[in-house]
Each structure stands twice: as structure tokens, then as C-alpha cells.
């Protein structure tokens, strides 16, 4: 995978694989190209060279909604929820691509549209139950504390019933208790819902505990790839994080 924005090279010849049902972490110093990598998988950025193979099909250019339809869902580092809408409505938007009835049918709330709405509501309630956010079901998202907003963000991604879940710094800005909660949810998603997870994270202890395998990026290049233990003792990784005297 190679991605450049004019003269700025974000990714340079990065290749790695993600096995089904594993938790894969992408780590690296700031500016290493981690979010760009996620955006490429998701279809937000189109790479100049390289392609993404998902479930056997290899494609170079993919659009975000196509990726979503294939079963790839993601969260955003800075939270991209609809601040004025309630938690419930935000999660329902996660079901958007699965809604088959047309606008007129939904507006008139006729038989088939009503049945479909109830189906979606049921799935969303299961996600609410899973994430333990019943008590803020009807609260406008903008009024929630940061930690809860991140959980709702995760909820919206889960509502789409993804096979591949991309998490962009899910623990950013959280205290120890919130990180423990989020870690538990991520493990449960992987375990109970069977989703494959790719996550970008800075907190080393979270990465070491949660992930099965790790990819390390630095200045757009891949510098290590392996299990957490292998990566932790890799000299190139240590140099990248701590810096080397030139």
C-alpha cells in the first residue's frame, strides 16, 4: 500500500495481513500513518499503489459505503456522532445500509416498513444492552461525558453487525476505569460477536493485553510485524519510539 498527498508520503509500501477473528493492533509514533492505513481499508482514502483483499476479493479503489456493505465498520478518533440526536437514534443510523424500505414507505410507516423498523430496533436494543447504556438511551449524545460518547460510537459501529471492525484510538482520553470497561467490551465483541478487530492504540499495556498480533509503522513504513512479545523487544521499534542519536 502506498499513499501520498501531494509531496507528503503517508504510506510507503506497507503490506500486512489480518486473520479472521483476531485482534490486530496497529501502533507507531505520531504521524506514522496509522489512521491513514485505516482510512485506506475503509475506502476513505484511495491509495496510489496497492490494494485491499477482503474475504478473497481484491480491490484497489473502494468507496466507504461499499466497504460498509461488505461488513466493515469503523469508529473515529474524534467521535463522529450526531450530537443533537439521542443515543438510540444514533445507533439506528448504524443500521442505515440494512434498511430496504423506500422513503415513502418509511414516512407513512406502513406494514412492511413498521416490521422492518421493529427488527432494527430489536438489534439496536441488543447492542444497548451489550454496552450497558440503557440509562442514556434517550439522551442527546452531545450531553454525554466523553467516555460514554466513545461507547456510543462503538455501539453505532456494532449496530451494523460488522465482520471487520476498525477502531481508531478507542481508548484516547479515558481514565483507567474507562479503559478497563472499553477493553472488556472489545474482548466481548471479538469473543461473542466473532468480529475481527483492527485497532489503533497508543496505550502499550492495552495493546499488549488485548491484541493477538501487532503491526508497527514509522514514517509510513512497516518496521515490525508479529506477536506483542516479538514486537516489544524488536530493536527497530524501540528506536522508533525512544529515538536514536544521529
Amino acid at each position: 500500500m502506498s499513499l501520498a498527498f501531494g509531496g507528503v508520503v503517508a504510506l510507503q509500501g506497507v503490506s500486512f495481513d489480518v486473520r479472521e477473528h483476531e485482534i490486530r493492533a496497529i501502533i507507531g509514533p505520531n504521524g506514522a500513518g496509522k489512521s491513514s492505513m485505516l482510512n485506506v481499508i475503509n475506502g476513505v482514502y484511495h491509495p496510489q499503489r496497492g490494494s485491499v483483499a477482503f474475504k478473497g476479493r481484491r480491490r484497489r479503489r473502494i468507496d466507504p459505503y461499499e466497504a460498509a456493505k461488505l461488513g466493515i465498520a469503523r469508529t473515529f478518533q474524534n467521535i463522529a456522532l450526531f450530537r443533537g440526536m439521542s443515543v438510540l437514534d444514533n445507533l439506528m443510523t448504524g443500521r442505515n445500509l440494512k434498511m430496504k424500505r423506500n422513503v415513502l414507505e418509511q414516512a407513512l410507516y406502513l406494514g412492511p416498513a413498521r416490521r422492518e423498523e421493529l427488527e432494527h430496533r430489536k438489534k439496536v436494543e441488543a447492542v444497548i444492552d451489550f454496552l450497558e447504556i440503557q440509562h442514556v438511551r434517550r439522551t442527546p449524545v452531545g450531553r454525554l461525558p466523553y467516555g460514554l460518547q466513545k461507547r456510543v460510537e462503538l455501539g453505532r459501529a456494532l449496530a451494523a453487525e460488522p465482520e471487520l471492525l476498525l477502531l481508531d484510538e478507542p481508548m484516547a482520553g479515558m481514565n483507567l476505569e474507562e479503559k478497563q470497561d472499553m477493553s472488556r467490551f472489545i474482548l466481548d465483541v471479538n469473543d461473542q460477536m466473532g468480529a475481527t478487530i483492527v485497532l489503533i492504540e497508543h496505550d502499550m499495556s492495552v495493546v499488549m493485553d488485548l491484541s493477538d498480533r501487532v503491526v508497527v509503522l514509522d514514517y509510513g513504513r512497516k518496521i515490525a510485524d508479529g506477536t506483542p512479545e516479538e514486537v516489544r523487544s524488536n530493536k527497530a521499534v524501540i528506536d522508533a519510539y525512544l529515538g536514536v542519536a544521529h
Binding site: 444497548i128 450497558e132 440503557q134
Partner: protein, 651 residues
């Protein structure tokens, strides 16, 4: 219902399923909607649970521990145990593993039903010390997939096992229920003792059912009533008011979605009967007052104007007293439309016919507030050992300072020492495995010694002063009733908890816990920044606020010759809230006086030795059981006292 002397809870369940099979028996909010089970359906669930337990080897007389939030399946598990002639032992869901160990051993628990993974983990932790515990059934399967322990089974699997057993032995359950007698023990409830280990109070079917019948008759409960079950299942109140009463009267129990959603669920259900300790009513009122402060000018004006009217005439209207001028009546009606009605609606209290409080004294402002807007709030008095019911206010005879008249069938006598003695059908059978404590508590004539000091007023209402052993004397011999003082302090919204010292001392000093929500809001209005509880508690402005409250209490005390000596001279504000997890409060949030005096001995000394401040470090326990330290430099403050003569001159 005839055959009152033979009734057991399982027989009552059968009766309800026979008389009103299609009426709702219990509801639970799950996945956002209320799911209802009728009496007939409830019976089926209990049948499969009971047969499942029997298949696992549950015998007559065995104990079943039940631990979790209020869930239909946990209530059914209790009924199932009783149907087999066993005894359910409900436990507090927020107890830590070590606390559970004592009860599990004391009650010889072999079978347990837990709500979810959290409770299962606590039980598993205790298995090494409690080898008898061999069957743990869990309701919520979340997180339970990878547990290898052979003791575990899901409730679904247990019920499947039970249905299978029932098909092979169709007459089994009916036969077992027939074998049960009214004199059998129906439940063992562990009292969260303020001193030492908890004691298991064993109550029979007869005692509980008889008491429930009296209560149902007293307030006229029918099958149409609705009750929200949000109080701990381990507490006698929930067992009596929810479980027992619904089996006697046939009304519906409603289980909230989770502890955090209780207030919204309250609004959705609109119960007709409500019980809560004063704390709950207080927190509701605090939230209302906070939100009023945030409301627009017009709403605030309306609120304060109509609340003023309610204060003047509301209670008279509620009691149906004559002498309220027509103009006021009409205004009150208008108030009902504009203010009281919507307020009650938001709080979920619109359909309340009777609301009770008890367990501790309630503040006058609080009590008056609810009654003045038309919520029929009354007090009651009792304890686990007497099936709660000793005395209750009858509608129309409600007085703030008393706890009502003794209930029908209850004899109350005041001993020489001032201790309240009770004899009634509801008095417990015994303390489980504690014949010594039982002998101490119930005397030869069958009177239970409550341990509370009280007296009867001119109209035959009972008044409770304090725990008999806590009523002390100051160094000069004058009366020192710490609970009385603490209650007066806690009546202020800014003070959440208080502990007073003074027995055998020259003067009275106090520890005070501020109420984070109320004081935080107060501080924000005055643009006082704070970083957390400890920080807020140490601010000068907050110290002054609390001092004002203490001084007001002192003024009130100075009006009474017997109490003027108890005025609070010095006090300090604690940097951490007193907590049940640290052993400072009981699980029902009563102060553990002796424990606190020992733990904070340094601070008590500082109060009495005239120091200005004192550095103190405490250990506190986080909710997952880990221990951390909190330290602070606490300021000791003087409060002005009013002399008795000055007060009388002013009057």
C-alpha cells in the same frame, strides 16, 4: 381466603394462579420494553425451576442463596425453594466476596442462584471456604461462555432439566407443596448489624403471611395495584412489601431495567404504592430543587409561588380537614394543574395512593414537601426481627415527629429503661444458629427487645428517640442522643451524613460528610471551582456553609432544656464519604458508630484537644475490592452556640 392458618407462600401462588391466571404477576423491562408474566405463567416458571432444583438434589430444609438485582427469575427461584420445603436466603448484591463468605458458611449454603457474571465470580471466589456450595445457577449468560467450573449451570438449562423432571414425575411438585406447613421457616434474612457479624433472622410462612394480610387490609391493596421493586431483595422490606404482599393481594411487581434506570422506570410504571428510606425521597427532592434552579424565570416564579401555597394549605387538603378557604382550594386546584401534577408526573408519583418511609428519621421539610403536593407520605417503624410492621401512620392521622400507632395485632410496651418492646405474630422464630442471641432478644413473655429508646405521646403515637445503647450522657449528666442530633444535621440538603461524639465528654463534636450533588451545585452557582470531593470539602466557603447549618441546629437545640447541653461546639468535614464498602456504614446505610470512632480516633482526639487542624490518612476500598489511601489536612471549625436563656428571652 379461608384456611389462613395453613397458608404457605407456595400455596398462595397456587391460589393466585387459580383465581386470576391472566392478571399480570410480574414485569421486567428488558431490551427496552416491559415484558409481562401472568400468574399462570409465573407458576409454570416456578414449577420448572423447582423441579430443576429437585433434579439437582435440593432437599426439604436446604438453603438456596439468591443474589442479584430485582429480577423475576430470582423471585421465582425463592418461590421454587419454598415449594420444595427449602429456605431462600437472599443476599445483598453489592456485598464483596468476603462479606458473602460469612453468610454462605453460617447458612450452610449448598445451592445458589446468581444474577450475572459479577455475582458468580464472587460466589466462585468463596468456594474454597464454603465447600458445601456445589450448585451455582446463573440467569444472565453474558460473559459466562468460557467458565469451566462444573458447579455452574445456566438458569435456562436448569429449567429445561426441571421440565424434563416434571414430565417424568407429574405429581411431584403438588405433593411437595402439600407437605409444607405454615410453621416452616419461609426465609432467612441477614440483618446488616451495626456491630459484629450479621445475624440470620428466620421468619416463618405464618408470620410473614399474617403480617402481609394486616398490611394489605390496612391500606386496601387489591390486584390492581402496581409496585416497583427496586430495594435490595436481601432486605426484609422488599420481601414483605413486594414478595409477600403480592402473593396475598395478587398485585403486580415491576422490576426495573437496571439500578441506573430506576427513576425513568418509576415514571413509566407509575406505581400506586411506594416505599423508600428517607434518603431516596431526599435525593429526589434535591434533584428537583437543582433542576428548578436551572429553569427559566417564569417557571421558577410559578414553582416558588405555588409551593408556598402548598406549604400553607396542601397538607390540610390532603388530610381532608375543614377550614380551608374556598379561594385557597381553587388556587390549589390550579397549582395541581400547573405545578404539582406535572411535578409528580415527572417523578413518577402521579398514581401513588400511599407512600411510606422508615428506617431513619425524615426531615420535616422533606416530609412536608411531599405531603403538601399531594403525595400521601407516611412513616412506619419496625425491623427485620418483627417483619418490619410495628407501627404505621394511618391515612389522616399523620404526624411528623412520630411513627404512628401500633398496627393491629401488635403489642408495644415501653420498658423501664425506655426501650421499646414488641410482641406480635410477626416476631421472628429465632436467629439462625444463635440461640444465645435469640434468648437475649426475645424475653420469656415473648416480647422482642428492639434496642430502640422511645415513648408514647398524648395521642398514642409512638416516638423513637435513638438506639437505646447509643443514648448517652454528657460529662455533666445531661442527655446526649447522637442520632437525634445527626438527623437534625442531615435534614439540610448540603449535609449527607453526620456522626456526633459526646458520651462522657464535656461537649459535643461532630464529623460531617457533605452531599456532593447539592454542594457541588451550590459551588458552581457561586463560581467556586473544585476538583473533586476532597477538594470541595476543604473549601472555606463550604466550611462556612456547613457552619451555618450547624449553628442553626444549635439554635433549635437551645430551645429545649433537656437538649441545650448537646449543642455542637466543634466539627470537621471529612475528605471522603463514609461508605459501606469500608465498613463505616451498614448495607442499609446506617452509621457504624463504634467502628468509626476507632478508625478515626486521631480525628476525634484532635476535635477534643483544641487543635486547629489535623492531618489524616485513611484507607478506602474501591468497588472492585482493591484498597487505596486517601489523605488530607482537615480543618477543625468552631460553631457558635446559643445559650438557653438567650433563646427564651428572644421568645
Amino acid at each position: 381466603m379461608q384456611e389462613t392458618s395453613r397458608d404457605t407462600f407456595p400455596r398462595l401462588l397456587l391460589k393466585q394462579a387459580e383465581i386470576r391466571p391472566h392478571r399480570p404477576a410480574i414485569r421486567e423491562k428488558d431490551l427496552g420494553i416491559w415484558q409481562t408474566w401472568t400468574w399462570a405463567q409465573a407458576l409454570e416458571e416456578v414449577r420448572s425451576l423447582a423441579c430443576g432444583l429437585a433434579a439437582q438434589g435440593f432437599k426439604r430444609g436446604d438453603r438456596l442463596a439468591v443474589v442479584g438485582d430485582n429480577r423475576p427469575r430470582l423471585y421465582w427461584a425463592m418461590m421454587a425453594a419454598q415449594a420444595l420445603g427449602g429456605v431462600p436466603v437472599p443476599l445483598y448484591q453489592d456485598a464483596v466476596a468476603a462479606e458473602l463468605a460469612f453468610v454462605l458458611q453460617d447458612a450452610d449454603i449448598g445451592f445458589a442462584v446468581a444474577e450475572d457474571q459479577e455475582q458468580v465470580d464472587k460466589l466462585l471466589e468463596n468456594i474454597p471456604q464454603c465447600p458445601k456450595l456445589q450448585h451455582i445457577t446463573f440467569d444472565d449468560p453474558r460473559g459466562m461462555r468460557h467458565y469451566p467450573q462444573s458447579e455452574l449451570m445456566s438458569l435456562d438449562a436448569l429449567q429445561a432439566l426441571g421440565r424434563d423432571f416434571a414430565t417424568r414425575n407429574p405429581e411431584f411438585l403438588a405433593a411437595e407443596i402439600e407437605k409444607g406447613g405454615a410453621g416452616d421457616i419461609a426465609v432467612i434474612l441477614y440483618t446488616s448489624g451495626t456491630t459484629g457479624h450479621p445475624k440470620g433472622v428466620a421468619q416463618t410462612h405464618a408470620a410473614l403471611i399474617e403480617t402481609a394480610r394486616v398490611l394489605v387490609a390496612f391500606d386496601g391493596f387489591t390486584e390492581k395495584d402496581e409496585v416497583l421493586c427496586y430495594l435490595p431483595m436481601a432486605w426484609v422490606g422488599d420481601f414483605l412489601y413486594s414478595y409477600a404482599q403480592s402473593l396475598v393481594a395478587g398485585f403486580c411487581l415491576n422490576c426495573p431495567e437496571s439500578p441506573e434506570t430506576v427513576m425513568t422506570d418509576l415514571r413509566e410504571i407509575g406505581p400506586t404504592y411506594y416505599f423508600g428510606p428517607p434518603r431516596v425521597y431526599e435525593s429526589i427532592l434535591t434533584q428537583v430543587m437543582i433542576r428548578i434552579e436551572d429553569a427559566g424565570w417564569l417557571k421558577r416564579r410559578m414553582f416558588h409561588a405555588f409551593m408556598g401555597l402548598a406549604k400553607r394549605v396542601g397538607m390540610d387538603i390532603l388530610e381532608g380537614r375543614a377550614g380551608v378557604p374556598l379561594k385557597d382550594r381553587l388556587l390549589y386546584r390550579l397549582g395541581e394543574l400547573l405545578v404539582y401534577g406535572p411535578l409528580k408526573n415527572v417523578l413518577g408519583l402521579s398514581r401513588i395512593r400511599v407512600a411510606y418511609t422508615g428506617g431513619e428519621a425524615i426531615g420535616p421539610d422533606l416530609f412536608d414537601f411531599y405531603r403538601s403536593i399531594g403525595v400521601n407520605l407516611k412513616q412506619l417503624y419496625g425491623m427485620t426481627e418483627t417483619c418490619v410492621t410495628v407501627s404505621m401512620h394511618a391515612s389522616g392521622e399523620v404526624k411528623l415527629e412520630t411513627v404512628g400507632r401500633p398496627m393491629p395485632g401488635v403489642e408495644v410496651r415501653i420498658a423501664e429503661s425506655g426501650e421499646v418492646l414488641v410482641r406480635s405474630p410477626g416476631v421472628m422464630m429465632e436467629y439462625h444458629k444463635r440461640p444465645d442471641a435469640t434468648r437475649e432478644a426475645i424475653d420469656a413473655e415473648g416480647f422482642f427487645h428492639t434496642g430502640d429508646a422511645g415513648f408514647f405521646d398524648a395521642e398514642g403515637h409512638l416516638k423513637i428517640i435513638d438506639r437505646a445503647k447509643d443514648v448517652g450522657r454528657l460529662a455533666d449528666g445531661s442527655l446526649f442522643a447522637p442520632k437525634y442530633l445527626e438527623n437534625k444535621l442531615k435534614f439540610f440538603p448540603y449535609i449527607k451524613e453526620a456522626v456526633c461524639f459526646g458520651h462522657g465528654r464535656e461537649e459535643v463534636c461532630a464529623f460531617i460528610n457533605i452531599d456532593m450533588a447539592a454542594v457541588g451545585n451550590w459551588a458552581e452557582r457561586r463560581n467556586i471551582p473544585y476538583s473533586g470531593y476532597a477538594d470541595l470539602a476543604s473549601q472555606t466557603a463550604v466550611c462556612d456553609l456547613v457552619r451555618e447549618c450547624v449553628e442553626k441546629v444549635n439554635r433549635d437545640l437551645s430551645a429545649d432544656a433537656a437538649l441545650t447541653g448537646s449543642q455542637i461546639r466543634r466539627f470537621l468535614i471529612l475528605h471522603k464519604e463514609l461508605d459501606a464498602d469500608d465498613g463505616e456504614l451498614t448495607r442499609t446505610r446506617k452509621v457504624r458508630r463504634r467502628h468509626i470512632a476507632e478508625k478515626y480516633a486521631t480525628l476525634v482526639d484532635a476535635l477534643y484537644s483544641g487543635k486547629e487542624s489535623c492531618f489524616f490518612e485513611t484507607q478506602m476500598r474501591f468497588e472492585d475490592g482493591r484498597i487505596g489511601t486517601v489523605s488530607a489536612d482537615l480543618r477543625i471549625l468552631q460553631a457558635k452556640t446559643t445559650s438557653a436563656t438567650a433563646q427564651r428571652k428572644a421568645a
